[in-house]
Amino acid sequence: MRSCTFFSNENEPIKAASNVVNKAKKKEMKPDLALIYSTKRYSGNYQDILKIIEKEFGNIPQTGGTIDGALFRGELRTDGVFLTLIEDKKARFRVKSFKYSKFNESGKDLIKELDIKEKDLAVIHSPIIYFRNRRDLFKTLAKAKYYDIRPKITKNNKDLIKGFSDHLYKKGNVRPPNKVLEKFSNQESTPVVNINLGHSNLGLDSPNVFSNYRNIKGDLSILLIEKNGSKPIYDDIYPSKTDDLKKNKEIVKKEIEPIKEIEIECIQNIITKINNQTVKDVVNEIDSSSKIEDQELKEDFEKGKVSSETPYILFLFNEETYGGTQIGIKNSFPFSLYPTYIDLSNFSKEAILGYEPSRGKLLKYISSINKVKDKNRFKLTSIDLSTVATFGEKLMKYRKHFEEKLEENYLAIFTYPPAAYLPENQQNQDYLTEVDREIFFSGGGTNLTFKI
Amino acid sequence: MSDKIKTGVYGLDPILGGGYREGTVNLVYGKTGVGKTTFGLQYALYGLNRGEKVTYVSFEMTKKQIVKECKDMGWDEITKYLENNQLEIIHEFGEDVLFLSKDLLKKIRGKDKRSRASRVIIDPLTHLTFSLRSKNERKALSKFFEGLRNISTAVITLEERGLSNDEDSSTPLYLADSVVHLENLGFGEMYDRTLKIIKNRGTNHGEGVYPIDILSGLGLVVEASEDQLKDIRSHKRYDEKFVEAKKEVKSKLDGEVQESILNRLEILRNNWTRDEKPDKVIEEVLRTEKEE
C-alpha cells in the first residue's frame, strides 16, 4: 500500500490543479482511489479543478468535497486543494453518486442498490446543512417566519411544525445524521461512516461534494471499500455511558459546565420551546450580543458570513440508548422554530443547557487516532472544525501528534463532526454519543478515523 | 551588462545591474569583521585572474598580512601576481597621509600611464575620513574621488561608525557612485550577514536585503531569490506599448523635445523591469511633455 497527498494553493484554480497533478505524476504511482478536497477559495471553479485531475486519474474512482482545512505529512493547511492518491491492490473501491432527493426517499432498499458486500466499509460524503440558492434559503426562512407572524393560526400547531421539519428534510437543507444512517441500520455487517461536510461560515451552495470527478454540489457521494480489516474508529470527547440515564446525566453535567437543567419541546428536528421560551429568548437572557434580524441573516447567508460557531449547547438524551448528543444553540436564528441537525424524535424532554465542553480537551478531539494499531494502512480522519476557533494556535500541536501516532499514509480533514453507524460487533466502547441505536454522533467533539 | 566591471563577488553582479560602471568609485561599508577586506580582495583577484593590473592600497594590513589573508582563503595565486608586478600593494599609515588628492593619488597613479591599474582598492578609507569637519577637507575628499574616477574603477572600504548622521562620517557615501552596506547581527541565522545596495548611480539594482555567506575558497557569496532577480531584470513584454507611445510622440511633438522624449522612452523600454504594464507611466510622461 502506498499513498501520498499533494497540495497547492496557487491563485488560479487551473494552476492549482495542474500543480497537484504534476507533483502526483512525479511519484509514479498506480493509484486505485483518489480523494480530492478543496477549501472554499476555489468556489465556482471546482469543476475546472476536477476536470484537470480527471484527465490524469480519471480511470480510478474519486470522492471528496469542500472542507475548511487538512492535515497531512505534518502540515496543517487551511487554504488550497488536496489530492490524495491511494495505491492498494488488496482493496476494491467503488464510488457512487446519489441525488439527495433519491437518497432521502429511499428506504432500506438502498443497501441492495449499493450492492454492499459483507466486508465493505461505506463512507458517505454529504453536507449536513445545505441551501442550494437564494430561492431555497428564502423559502425556508419564509416558512419559519410564517409561524411567528401568524400566531393565531400557527402557535403550537404540530402539523405546521412537522411540515417545516419535513420541508427541511425534503429539500436537504438539514440532514440529520441519524436519519441518514438509519437507512443502513437493518444490516449488521457493514459499518457506515458519515463525513458531514461543512464550513465554519455558512453560505449558499456550500459545501460541495465531489464524486467521480463531478462536482455534485449538495448531493451525496458514497465510497465502498472492500478489504479485510477496513474499519472506522469512532470516538467522542465524553466518558463512556452507563445503562442508567440519571448517571449519564451526571456524567454530562461534569463535562459541560452546566448553566441549568431544562425541558424542551420538539418535533423531529425542530426545537420549539426551552422551558416554555423560544431558543432565541433563552440565549438572549444569557447573552444578547449576537442577536440579529432575519433580513441580516439572509444577507449574511448570501455573503457566506453566517458563523456556524455556537457558544452554548444543549445536551439531549435518547430515551432508548441513554446516550445523547450536544447541539449548539445561538440567538442568531431569529425565529421561534429552531432547526437542529439531529432528529429528536426518540429523545427525552429533559436536557441540560451549558457551555462547550472543550476546556483541556485539545487531544480528545483527535482521540480516534490513538486507537489505530495498523500503521501500514491509509487513514482518513475527520476532525471537528470548531477546534480551529476553540483552540487557535494550540491546534498546531496536532501536526506533531499525527506524525507521532500515524507516521505516514494519513490525511485529516477539518469539517463538521462525523457520524457513524456501527453494528454492535464493531463498537469498541459504550460511547455516550449514541444518538440512536448503533448510530453515533454529536454536534461537537466527535472524531473518526477510518483505515483502509 | 557586458560593459560593466565585474565585482568578483559571487551573486552580486546580477543585483548590481551587471557590475560596476567603468570609471566609478564604489564604497563598501560595514562594521569590523563583516567582510569588507574579503570583498576588496575578491574584486582585486577577479581582475588579476583576467590579466588586469590592480593597485591595492591598505591603511591597516601590511603586504604580508594581505598575502596571508588570501592564502587562508585558498587564493594562493596572489603571490604570483605580486612577483610579476601585476598587483601592487601600497601600505600606508593613515596618519601619514596629509593631502588626499595629492599624495595618495600620486602614488596610485604611478609614473607610467601605460602600466596604470584598471582596478584600485582602498582598504579602509576610514582614517582619512575621521575628520572631515572643514570645508577644505571635504573638498579634498571630493577631489580625491574625482581623481580616482579618472584612473580606474575603484572599490573603497569604509568602517561603519554607528548611527551617526553627522556630515563628516557620511560624506563618502554621498560622493561615491555606488554604496554597498554589509552587516552582521551575530545571531548565527540566515539573515545576520547581509548585503544591501544603498545606492547605485545610473543602474537598476536590487533593493532588498540579501543574505551572504563567507565560504572558504570562494569568499563572499550573495543569495538572491529568482523573484528578486526578476525584479531587476528588464524584459520586453510590453514592447508594443512603447512602440505606440513613440508613434504618439512623433505625431504630437517635434524638434528637440521629440528627440529627447523618444530617447527617454527608449531607455525606459530597455530598462522596464516591472510586472505591470507601463501604460500609466507613459501616459503621465506624454501628458507632462505635451503641456504648453
Binding site: - | L185, K196, Y210, Q228
Partner: protein, 118 residues
C-alpha cells in the same frame, strides 16, 4: 536556494484570500522579504508604522514569551509572529477575512521560515 524557499513560503501565505501582505522583518526593522498581493498603496503607509513597531514587538515577545502580537485597525489586522531570534513575520489581513483559518496558515509559515532561517 534558501531564499527561494523563503520566497515560496511567503508567496503561498500571501495567496490566501484575505491576506493583504506578508512581510518578514529583521529585528532592526529591515525588510527581508515582502509580498503584497493586491493594492500596494493600501499597505505602504501601514508598512512604515510596522517597521517602527518591529523592535518594540520583538521586545514584548521576548519579555512576555508571547506567541504573537496583534494590532487591529479599522479594516485591517496586523499580527506579528516571532519567526526566529532575529526575524519576525508580519501578516496583514482584511477585516472580513477568516482570521482563525489564516492564523493556522501563518503559524505554519512561521515554523517553516524558522527552519529555513536558523
Amino acid at each position: 536556494m534558501k531564499v527561494d524557499k523563503l520566497n515560496k513560503e511567503l508567496r503561498e501565505l500571501s495567496n490566501i484570500p484575505g491576506v493583504k501582505a506578508c512581510i518578514l522583518y529583521r529585528l532592526d526593522g529591515e525588510i527581508i522579504q515582502v509580498r503584497i498581493p493586491g493594492d500596494k498603496n493600501e499597505i505602504i503607509k501601514l508598512m512604515k508604522w510596522m517597521k517602527n513597531q518591529v523592535k518594540y514587538v520583538i521586545n514584548e515577545i521576548k519579555k512576555k514569551n508571547l506567541d504573537s502580537v496583534d494590532f487591529s485597525f479599522d479594516e485591517l489586522q496586523v499580527v506579528f509572529y516571532p519567526s526566529s531570534q532575529s526575524t519576525v513575520l508580519a501578516v496583514v489581513t482584511e477585516e472580513e477575512a477568516h482570521r482563525d483559518l489564516i492564523k493556522m496558515e501563518a503559524i505554519g509559515t512561521r515554523d517553516k521560515v524558522n527552519k529555513i532561517i536558523t
